[in-house]
């Protein structure tokens, strides 16, 4: 199906991104650039065999994580027909892999099963360059295994804050996500995401059915470390009673404070290092000259 590059893949709709009410409105959550491709684990990087990347040469590689969000179903991950992750366990995160821009195939099987018996496949998919990505194996709202790729926002996080991204990857209807009892993201549906920056620190998070106080996950403590990106995935199945949260934390996004205001007294003019004395001396001399008192000064010198 070459004309449908993402055939067989459940690509998340982005419509919900605009719907999130933001109680913690510090930074406007811009619409995520929804990735237009499914990423595959590369046998290039794991097996070191020849270059299969078909993308333009010298495009920056992407950092790619794989997240397993299908409860009770360990899988083998195949890339271009080669087993890349063996017996990959639910609730775990693999990576990062540095993948060149290019085209890849991906398949998940039950452990030990041949790739021809895949649970879910994604063919002829393209990896963009220079991004940070998470590929999530999870259930659709209807409970079917699927794969959703996300581009992770790893732009700098302002000092003192943390970025939190929530992804609905569970077989469950629309939900609200609350922090310390207040709704932060509302009406989130599978497989969409919402994000915001919040003051760093530990929060108590829970997930309710949208518009209700009916808690379906949590409450659970989550530490949002300063300067990091914490991605929380709601996974599992409401029907099977396996709903839960798993998380992935990205670092390297911290920012320095914007300044260090450390003095407002002006006392250093009276007692400080040589640099300040120089400023004082120059300033005094200038004032004397401007004031026309050079003559007075000269007379003093003559008397002295």
């Amino acid at each position: 199906m070459p004309t449908r590059p993402f055939a067989g893949i459940h690509i998340g709709k982005s419509r919900n991104i605009h719907r999130f009410r933001r109680q913690e409105e510090i930074v406007r959550p811009s619409q995520l650039k929804r990735m237009l491709a499914v990423i595959a684990l590369s046998i290039l990087t794991t097996l070191g065999v020849g270059a299969l990347s078909t993308g333009p040469a010298h495009a920056a590689a992407s950092q790619v994580y794989v997240v397993h969000g299908i409860p009770g179903q360990p899988v083998d991950v195949y890339v271009n027909g080669q087993k890349t992750l063996d017996n990959f366990q639910p609730g775990t995160v693999a990576g990062p892999l540095s993948l060149d821009e290019g085209t890849y195939d991906l398949a998940l099987t039950q452990p030990g099963e041949p790739v021809g018996n895949a649970i879910v496949t994604a063919d002829d998919v393209q990896v963009p360059g220079g991004q940070n990505l998470s590929i999530v194996a999870h259930l659709t709202e209807d409970g079917q295994p699927t794969i959703t790729p996300y581009v992770n926002d790893v732009t700098p996080v302002p000092a003192g804050q943390a970025r939190v991204i929530v992804r609905h990857d569970a077989a469950a209807p629309a939900v609200d996500v609350r922090a310390n009892g207040a709704v932060v993201f509302s009406n989130l549906t599978n497989p969409d995401e919402a994000k915001t920056n919040v003051p760093a620190g530990t929060i108590t998070a829970d997930v309710t059915l949208a518009g209700t106080d009916n808690v379906v996950i949590g409450p659970q403590q989550v530490d949002l470390a300063e300067g990091t990106v914490t991605i929380v995935y709601a996974i599992g199945s409401a029907q099977d009673g396996t709903l839960s949260l798993i998380a992935q934390t990205l670092t390297g996004t911290a920012s320095a404070p914007t300044g260090v205001p450390a003095g407002n007294g002006g006392h250093a003019a009276d007692n400080a290092g040589p640099a300040t004395w120089q400023y004082v001396a120059v300033g005094t001399a200038a004032l004397l000259l401007i004031g026309g008192t050079a003559r007075v000064l000269a007379q003093r010198n003559a008397r002295g």
């Binding site: 775990t92 540095s98 290092g273």
Partner: protein, 217 residues
């Protein structure tokens, strides 16, 4: 002079003999590498193959819990006549600036950065040069520090760690490389920051920041 006259041809003879010996020595001629790594490389696998990690890291997707850091609680700098309590500080949520403690007798450790137990990055402690109505602050004489001066920091774990001053720099506040001074990576180091330079009586601000960097002694 006679001896000197003999010395020159003797040396020439010796050099010539040495050259002859080298030329006849079995093996590759002098000045030629025994191997040619460049030549070997040209016969290796095709170019373009990405590096080969030995295995892909897999970690549990547990929700993150707060990491503990060893916070500084006391700072002693004999050469600057500083002996001050250290309190953890963050940033002003409106301005993004470091929240230096209001009391000029205290100094503030940037709690979002590395603690004393960190194996990498810059441990930042900021203190006032002075304060309106309070007089000189804990870092009033920071500018007197010289390379080699000792700094002792005591942590919440009760341990005292000694650092050695390596540099003292002043930057206009509009042009200070804060990313470098607040870096979370690089060799572990202690960074002390205060104000310096001319004082603007209108805005009640000093123009510059003074930065002292120290490394574990």
């Amino acid at each position: 002079m006679t001896r000197h006259g003999w010395a020159v041809p003797a040396a020439a003879l010796a050099a010539g003999t040495a050259t002859l010996v080298l030329a006849l020595w079995p093996g590759p001629p002098a000045g030629t590498l025994e191997e040619d790594p460049a030549g070997q490389a040209t016969t290796a696998t095709p170019t373009g193959a990405p590096p080969t990690p030995t295995r892909i890291p897999v970690r549990p997707g547990d929700l993150p819990s707060a990491a503990t850091k060893v916070a500084p609680v006391r700072l002693r700098i004999p050469a600057a006549h500083t002996d001050a309590p250290v309190n953890p500080v963050g940033v002003n949520q409106h301005t993004g600036e470091l929240q230096v403690p209001p009391s000029v007798d205290e100094v503030g450790w940037y709690r979002h950065g590395p603690g004393l137990d960190a194996t990498a990055g810059s441990i930042v402690i900021a203190g006032h040069l002075d304060g309106a109505g309070q007089g000189p602050g804990a870092f009033f004489r920071l500018g007197e520090l010289r390379p080699g001066d000792r700094i002792t920091v005591t942590g919440t774990d009760g341990r005292s760690r000694t650092y050695r001053v390596t540099s003292r720099e002043a930057h206009p506040k509009t042009d200070i490389p804060l990313d470098r001074y607040f870096a979370r990576d690089g060799k572990p180091r202690l960074t002390l920051i205060t104000c310096s330079g001319p004082f603007d009586r209108e805005t009640r601000n000093y123009r510059d920041n003074l930065v002292v960097t120290a490394v574990p002694a």
